[in-house]
């Protein structure tokens, strides 16, 4: 009986994949077509999406390998084991900062976009705060049940996105899509970099492998978790370019929202389909926020064992909220997003890969 409940409390491989997908789909899905169209200037952006998807998978594979080496240990424990305790402390602390910045970014995005399209008079501060409260509430419960929300939300999200795409397919104009293969390698690489910012999120495997039933299958979960966003981004990009043409996409603030606004259900009994799109998009942001907040807390509790989870939640929330309120306008906000992602590239991609190299060379291995 007890063994069964224990395995119930663990993540299956597919569940881990869905978690990765849920975290990756966030704010980037709304803005990446603009960045990509700006760099590649046409439909060729799809190559960039695939390219950076492959790079993401390579990095993700390495991260999964690292985490699988230490199946039941926390990030703090295995970094300390590989590269001494002080390094473990510093790195884990930096990861906490990263995940907190990420939460700040996401809740501010909710505030900005909800104000622009849904609540014209409500202050951004209020929208952001109430959203943060909901995230706090989700955090207060058990970790596994929180992660199960990802599993519950993902089919709804995917079905609604599919419907939006289905209803806009009639608006695709072939002349917007052509010419194929018109961009040079330089712009494709720039495009990959631009879309790469929307791929961040798969690094959660570093922290959740310890909860997996079969940690060795982390790479499999990574493949599934990356496959869904890559396919989704590809379809969205092709649709956005086909419906609007590259020139327009460059000039839309949130191309994907405008795609949802284009939907017209024949018969005219239901206009404003974007309201449903907003609902599911807020769900995806909620997923992302929860997971990042949780990662901050996992890492903090692994460093300071006698402080309770609730204390951390209440302590971190004001800081997160304060950072979220720092960007003064849309331009500031996008720059903030870029900096967070670049910072993350060093902290959660580069450092762990270095750790893996060291672990392999020194032959450091975790215990079951």
């Amino acid at each position: 009986m007890s063994a069964r409940t224990l395995s119930d409390k663990m993540l299956s491989t597919n569940h881990m994949g869905i978690n990765i997908t849920s975290v990756m789909i966030g704010v980037g899905i709304l803005t990446f077509p603009r960045a990509l169209a700006k760099e590649t200037g046409g439909i060729d952006g799809w190559i960039s999406i695939v390219l950076s998807g492959l790079v993401a998978f390579l990095i993700g594979w390495l991260l999964a390998k690292l985490a699988a080496r230490f199946p039941r240990q926390t990030f703090f424990e295995y970094t300390s084991q590989i590269a001494s305790k002080p390094v473990g402390y510093v790195l884990t602390f930096l990861v906490c900062v990263y995940s907190m910045l990420f939460v700040s970014f996401e809740i501010r995005a909710i505030g900005n976009i909800a104000k622009q399209y849904l609540f014209y008079n409500t202050p951004v501060e209020m929208i952001t705060l109430s959203f943060l409260f909901v995230v706090q509430y989700a955090m207060a419960g058990s970790r596994i049940s929180m992660l199960r929300l990802n599993l519950l939300f993902s089919p709804v999200v995917l079905v609604v996105l599919f419907l939006v795409l289905l209803f806009t397919s009639q608006l695709i104009e072939f002349e917007n899509v052509r010419p194929f293969f018109s961009s040079d390698w330089q712009s494709l690489l720039n495009g990959s970099q631009a879309v790469g910012l929307s791929y961040s999120g798969f690094e959660i495997i570093l922290f959740y492998t310890m909860l997996m039933k079969r940690p060795k299958e982390g790479t499999k979960a990574m493949a599934l978790g990356l496959f869904i966003p890559v396919v989704l981004y590809l379809t969205i990009y092709i649709f956005v370019i086909g419906v609007f043409s590259a020139e327009v996409v460059k000039n839309l603030t949130y191309p994907t929202i405008d795609l949802a606004k284009e939907v017209e259900i024949p018969g005219g009994f239901f206009e404003r389909v974007e309201s449903i799109f907003f609902a599911i998009w807020i769900m995806t942001i909620f997923d992302t926020c929860m997971v990042w907040f949780d990662i901050a807390i996992i890492n903090l509790t692994s460093m300071f064992r006698n402080v309770k989870k609730m204390v951390w939640i209440l302590l971190l929330s004001p800081i997160i909220y304060f950072i979220a309120m720092l960007p003064q306008n849309l331009v500031d906000f996008f720059t903030f997003a870029d900096y967070v992602t670049y910072y993350g590239m060093i902290i959660v991609y580069l450092c762990p890969i270095l750790l893996l190299v060291i672990a392999v060379i020194r032959g450091v291995k975790g215990h079951e």
Binding site: Q116, L118, T122, S130, P179, S245, V248, E271
Partner: protein, 409 residues
């Protein structure tokens, strides 16, 4: 202590969060805007008054006279008594006209005049007058607010009016309660008549404004109780109105761009009229780009349809006669296309057939080199040659062969 501390906090928090809604707008307070008409003010009196009130205000190049059509929901209910008081005419709409430097200004000015503040989410049509479209940047400026406002939709239809735009949405059609919906509905009849353009949405306009080519937008004219949507307004690649195409020229243009989903085709055979009901067309463009100074485009048009009306007394079931008929129709298509080309290619010099886009799609490296010399610069479009070849397939002759005998004439 714990409870004494937490409870007041909770109460304070909940009373702040749960009690109110900043954005609560009752549906009765919304003024659903269905149509917007944008004109150039006829007199500058309003401007003088505004300058008198605030002499220091920045001078602007152009001003807009904007008419909003709001719905009066009470008037929509069939047979409803005019019980709401002032609405004695039992009309379902209200037109409000206001003048200002910008569209946003006008929109907010309306809030000082009506109990229902304008709400653009259900905007159906936007009519822009010829004068606005002819002025420099006028068209793009008029569209900016409607594109930028997160509240408005990219699916609203755009029309250019010959004459004042205000008079278009002021018509009182007998069949519909709301003029804007009436106009919107007419725009959907493209499968009935080839002499009107396909509807142009706000999103399409944004696309065209950003593209390096000229474009066309449906033209609309107002009469007393009705409007007529036929013909098209031609914009140059710097987004300025350069002229109009008539009804037949528009049909020719539709043939050239392959945008026909239905309509009719008249031709003369043996001095008598025959009419075909078009049921589908297909068009392909062949390009010969060897000589840079003289590109040659051949537009192949294939058209199929059934006989709708025939005054000519022929045996339509014979093979030779059908061939003759098909050739006559094909010739007619070619003539119409040539007339259109004469105007858009030779006179207006605007690439509304999107041949440039065709080069861009098929031969991108070449397009990269010539893109600044297409409509401007060396004017390669003007120098190119456009040929039209049409082929017609008559699929059916209808229920009868002859309606009267030859001897009867």
């Amino acid at each position: 202590m714990n409870r004494r501390f937490v409870l007041p906090c909770l109460i304070a928090l909940l009373s702040a969060l749960v009690t109110g809604c900043w954005d609560q707008v009752q549906i009765e307070e919304r003024g659903f805007v269905l149509g917007v008409a944008i004109d150039v003010p006829r007199t500058n009196e309003a401007e003088k008054r505004a300058t008198k009130e605030s002499p220091g205000k920045p001078k602007v190049k152009e001003r807009f006279l904007v008419t909003h059509q709001l719905v009066i929901p009470g008037g929509l209910i069939a047979g409803s008594q005019a019980g709401d008081g002032q609405n004695t005419a039992n009309e379902a709409f209200l037109n409000l006209t206001s003048e200002g430097d910008s569209l946003f200004e006008v929109s907010r000015e309306l809030a000082t005049r009506t109990s229902r503040a304008p709400f653009y989410q259900h905007l159906k049509i936007i009519v822009i007058s010829e004068d606005v479209a002819r002025s420099e940047n006028g068209f793009a400026n008029a569209m900016d607010f409607l594109l930028r406002d997160p509240d408005s939709r990219r699916g609203s239809k755009v029309l250019i009016s010959k004459g004042p735009a205000k008079s278009i949405i002021e018509v009182t059609p007998k069949t519909e309660k709301l003029p804007a919906l009436y106009i919107n509905q007419i725009g959907e009849h493209i499968d009935r008549n080839a002499r009107m353009l396909h509807q142009v949405r706000v999103g399409d306009v944004h696309e065209e404004l950003l593209s390096p080519f000229g474009f066309v937008i449906p033209r609309v004219r107002a009469e007393k109780n009705e409007i007529k949507m036929a013909g098209s307004a031609v914009f140059s690649n710097n987004n300025q109105l350069v002229g109009f195409l008539g009804e037949e020229e528009t049909e020719g243009l539709n043939f050239l761009t392959g945008n026909i989903s239905g309509g009719l085709l008249k031709a003369k055979v043996k001095n008598d009229l025959v009419v075909m009901n078009i049921q589908g067309t297909k068009h392909t463009i062949k390009q010969d780009l060897r000589d840079k100074q003289r590109f040659v485009f051949t537009i192949h048009i294939e058209c199929e349809g059934i006989l709708a009306e025939a005054y000519s007394l022929m045996d339509f079931l014979s093979k030779e006669e059908t061939k003759k008929l098909e050739r006559a129709f094909a010739k007619e298509i070619e003539r119409m296309c040539q007339d259109t080309l004469q105007k858009v290619h030779k006179e207006m010099k605007v690439d509304v057939i999107k041949l440039g886009s065709n080069i861009r799609q098929k031969n991108y490296p070449l397009w990269k080199k010539i893109q600044h010399d297409w409509e401007d610069g060396q004017r390669l479009y003007e120098k190119s040659e456009i040929r039209v070849k049409a082929k017609v397939y008559l699929r059916n002759i209808g229920s009868i062969n002859r309606s009267e005998l030859d001897e009867g004439r």
